[in-house]
């Protein structure tokens, strides 16, 4: 049981993470690098240090080590997403809701809404080099928002009562009514035009990769169920 859950999730996550990484490197990385160039230019003293990668590192064209790490971490994060999604799929199945590849598309879309769209609604999808509230505060809000939205979507999908749907509305809207931590004042090294392309692109890639995750995880669950039934017969 456990090994079937893990195998399916890790396969789905690795494939989706690879898809996400390729799309990210082609469509997002140029915007990220450009924003960092603005960020470096905005640092006045020579001693100033850009976050993340050192300034000299960023300046040098395509960075193989950096892109390699992005691919690795993309696979890792989508493996994490797929493990969570697969666990919840198995829970739904144990309560009599069949999961297929087609249903997996919806599962993936719901995962995207909970983990990427909902936090972005109030926290934004940030380019490097902008104002932001305290990182720990934002992380706490992010985790709370993802957990509340996820639970809300579960209530919406599987709770067949007015009370469950009411709870879903409160859980999904609550984090945004409370509000995400915001900086005291706004500034940004990169132009707004860059950020306004970056955010929807990041979300679009996220939606696609999450739906790949869901469809593959769903497909592999139907496969593993069939295999288990064949063995049992």
């Amino acid at each position: 049981m456990l090994s079937r859950l893990l195998t399916g999730a890790l396969l789905a996550g690795a494939a989706a993470g690879l898809v996400a990484a390729v799309l990210q490197l082609v469509l997002l990385q140029p915007l990220l690098i450009e924003a960092e160039a603005y960020e470096i230019a905005s640092i006045p003293a020579a001693g100033g240090e850009a976050h993340g990668h050192g300034a000299t590192e960023i300046a040098a064209g395509i960075d193989l080590a950096r892109n390699g790490l992005t691919i690795l971490f993309s696979i890792l994060i989508y493996a994490g997403y797929a493990l969570i999604l697969t666990a919840l799929m198995a829970l739904a199945e144990s309560r009599g809701h069949a999961v297929t590849a087609r249903a997996g598309l919806l599962w993936g879309a719901a995962g995207f809404v909970a983990v990427q769209l909902a936090p972005a609604v109030s926290l934004g999808v940030a380019l490097p080099g902008g104002a932001a509230a305290d990182i720990a505060m934002r992380q706490v809000w992010w985790i709370a928002c993802v957990a509340a939205t996820g639970l809300g979507l579960w209530c919406l999908a599987f709770g067949a009562s007015a009370r469950a749907w009411g709870a879903a509305i409160v859980l999904v809207l609550g984090p945004h009514l409370i509000g995400a931590p915001q900086p005291e004042s706004y500034w940004s090294a990169a132009p707004a035009e860059l950020a306004s392309v970056f955010a929807p692109r990041a979300l679009g890639i996220g939606l696609f990769a999450w739906m790949v995750t869901g469809a593959l995880a769903g497909y592999l669950r139907t496969r593993s169920e069939t295999a288990a039934e064949t063995r049992a017969a």
Partner: protein, 57 residues
């Protein structure tokens, strides 16, 4: 009968335990790859964090 019931309960318990473990493993990976601020981890995961909307710095 009792035996069958015990077997059923055991299966369902191990089933739920496997689900919980899978979920916890996934949540752990997402937390480490997405949120831990240790410098080396932050630098390595930096671009992925921006692309997937994690609060980064």
């Amino acid at each position: 009968m009792t035996q069958a019931l015990t077997a059923l309960r055991d299966t369902s318990v191990s089933h739920l335990a496997a689900i919980a473990l899978t979920f916890a493993l996934g949540a752990g990976i997402v937390f480490v790859a997405g949120h831990v601020q240790a410098a080396a981890l932050h630098d390595a995961a930096h671009d992925m964090r921006h692309a997937t909307g994690f609060p980064c710095h």
